[in-house]
Symmetry: C2
Subunit: 231 residues, 2 copies
DNA sequence: AGGGGGGAGTGACTTTGGTCACTGCCCCCT
DNA sequence: AGGGGGCAGTGACCAAAGTCACTCCCCCCT
C-alpha cells in the first residue's frame, strides 16, 4: 500500500528528494482517492481543502463560462501536483478540476501540507518553482488568446503534437488526436465547429490530411509558416 | 537614505514584518534605480537578474506581439514586488516591464534574494502568497479573454473604476480615465479603435456620457446588466 | 503664427469567431 | 433489427474584432 504512495511521491517534483524518514512521515498523512472519467474533483469557487497529486490518469483544470463554454488552463498527468496555491493563500479554488480519464489521486489536507512546509523549508522553495512553471504557462495562454487566431492555435497544437508523438513516414508525419473536437476546442479557447472547420480548411489547403482523429502532416514547413504570419 | 529604502520595504508584503536587524541586512543589499515614463525595465526573454520592488510610480508588465500589439498582464504600484518567479526558477522574464509613469524602483539581485529566502523561510511562504494572487489575476485575464467581448470588458473596467474612484453626484457617477485609449486597449486586450467605438456606443445607448477622459455613468444598474449577459 | 505630434473619432470594409440547425456516422445496447 | 447517444461535418447566418485611411483637435514648441 504505502509503497505505491511512496513511488508517486518520489515522482512529484515537490517531494522528490526527501529522506526516507520524511517520506514515511508524509506518506502517513496522505489519502488516496479514485475518480472516474469525467468526474469532478472540485468546482470553481469551492473552498480549498488540500493539495492533490496525480498518481495515474489525467486531470483537467478549467474555467466554465456562464454560457457553458470551457477553457482549459492545464492538464496534469502522473507526478504533477495541483491546487498548491489556494492551499497557501487560503482562498477558494480559482477553477474547476475533473478527470480526463480514470485517475488515481493522492490528497493531503491543507493543514498537514502547511505544517510539512514549515518543517521543511526546501519544500516551500520547490512549491515556488512548480508554481513558476504554472505561471509561465498561463502567460502563454494569455498570449495565444490575445494575439493569435483559432487557426494559428490549432496549427501550433498540431505541430506540438507532431513534435511530441508524431511518427514519420514517406507520406508525412502521422499524428493522432487523443481527444474529441469538443475537448480540443476547450484547450484552444473556442468551440467545436471552429476546430472542425479549420481542420477541413487546412486539409483543403494541402497542409494536412484528416481522417477522423488521424492526421497526416503533409507540409510541415508550410504549416510552420502559417503559424506565425497570417500571410 | 536607508530610511527611505526601509520605508518601502516595510510597505511590501514580502518583507513587511521583519525584525529591525533583518531589515538592515536586507536594506544594505538593495539598490535604487529610477525609470522615466515609458522607459523599459527589462524586455521579454531577457535573462532574469533580480527582484524589483516599486517605491513610487507605476510599472506595467506586458506582452508584445509580433504585430506590435500589447497585452497588459499587470500594473504594479508602490509596495508591490514583481519578477519574483523567474528569480527562483532561473528562467528568463516571461514578459516585458516598463514605467507607466516616472518610477523609483528597488532592486535586489537574484543571488542575494535567494540567500535571504533560505535564511528566512517565512519570506518564502510570503512569496508563495504573493505569487498566488498574481496567478489568480492571470486566470481572471484568461477568463475575460476567452469568454467575454471587448464591450463587456470595457464595461467591467468602467464599473471597477467607478467603484474604486468614482465620485457621486445628482447626474451620475463621475470617473476619469487615467490613461489613453491606446493604453486602455492594451489592458483590455484589444485595439484603440474598439475602445473608442464601444465608448461611443455606450454613450449612444444612454449608459454613459463621455467627454474626453471624463465619463459620467448615467445608468449603473443597466451597465451591470450589460456586463454579464449580452442581452 | 505656423508646424508637429499625440490622441481621439469614424466610415468603410474584411476577417474571424460564434450560433443554430441539420445531417450523417459509428458503435453500443437490448 | 431498430434505436439511442456521442461525435463530427457543414451551410447559412450574424455579430464581434480588427484594419486602413482619414480627419479633427488640442497642446506644445520655437
Amino acid at each position: 500500500m504505502n509503497e505505491i504512495v511512496e513511488k508517486v511521491l518520489r515522482k512529484t517534483p515537490l517531494f522528490a528528494n526527501l529522506t526516507q524518514k520524511e517520506m514515511d512521515a508524509l506518506a502517513a498523512r496522505v489519502s488516496t482517492r479514485h475518480f472516474g472519467k469525467g468526474e469532478q474533483l472540485f468546482g470553481e469557487g469551492d473552498a480549498c481543502t488540500g493539495l492533490f497529486l496525480v498518481a495515474s490518469g489525467k486531470i483537467r483544470i478549467f474555467k466554465l463560462s456562464a454560457a457553458g463554454r470551457e477553457q482549459v488552463l492545464a492538464v496534469e498527468g502522473p507526478g504533477s501536483s495541483f491546487a498548491e496555491l489556494p492551499v497557501f493563500d487560503g482562498g477558494n479554488y480559482p477553477a474547476a478540476a475533473s478527470a480526463l480519464e480514470d485517475a488515481e489521486v493522492l490528497f493531503i489536507s491543507r493543514k498537514e501540507f502547511q505544517n510539512f512546509c514549515r518543517e521543511h523549508p526546501e519544500v516551500a522553495l520547490k512549491v515556488i518553482a512548480v508554481v513558476g512553471g504554472r505561471l509561465r504557462r498561463l502567460v502563454g495562454i494569455i498570449e495565444e488568446l490575445s494575439f493569435t487566431t483559432v487557426r494559428q492555435r490549432l496549427i501550433s497544437f498540431i505541430l506540438r503534437l507532431a513534435q511530441a508523438s508524431g511518427t514519420h513516414s514517406k507520406d508525412g508525419i502521422h499524428v493522432e488526436l487523443t481527444k474529441s473536437h469538443q475537448d480540443l476546442a476547450a484547450d484552444l479557447g473556442t468551440v467545436r465547429e471552429l476546430v472542425s472547420r479549420n481542420l477541413s480548411r487546412l486539409q483543403a489547403e494541402g497542409f494536412l490530411e484528416v481522417d477522423g482523429r488521424k492526421i497526416v502532416v503533409k507540409d510541415l514547413a508550410g504549416l510552420k509558416a502559417e503559424q506565425t504570419s497570417p500571410e
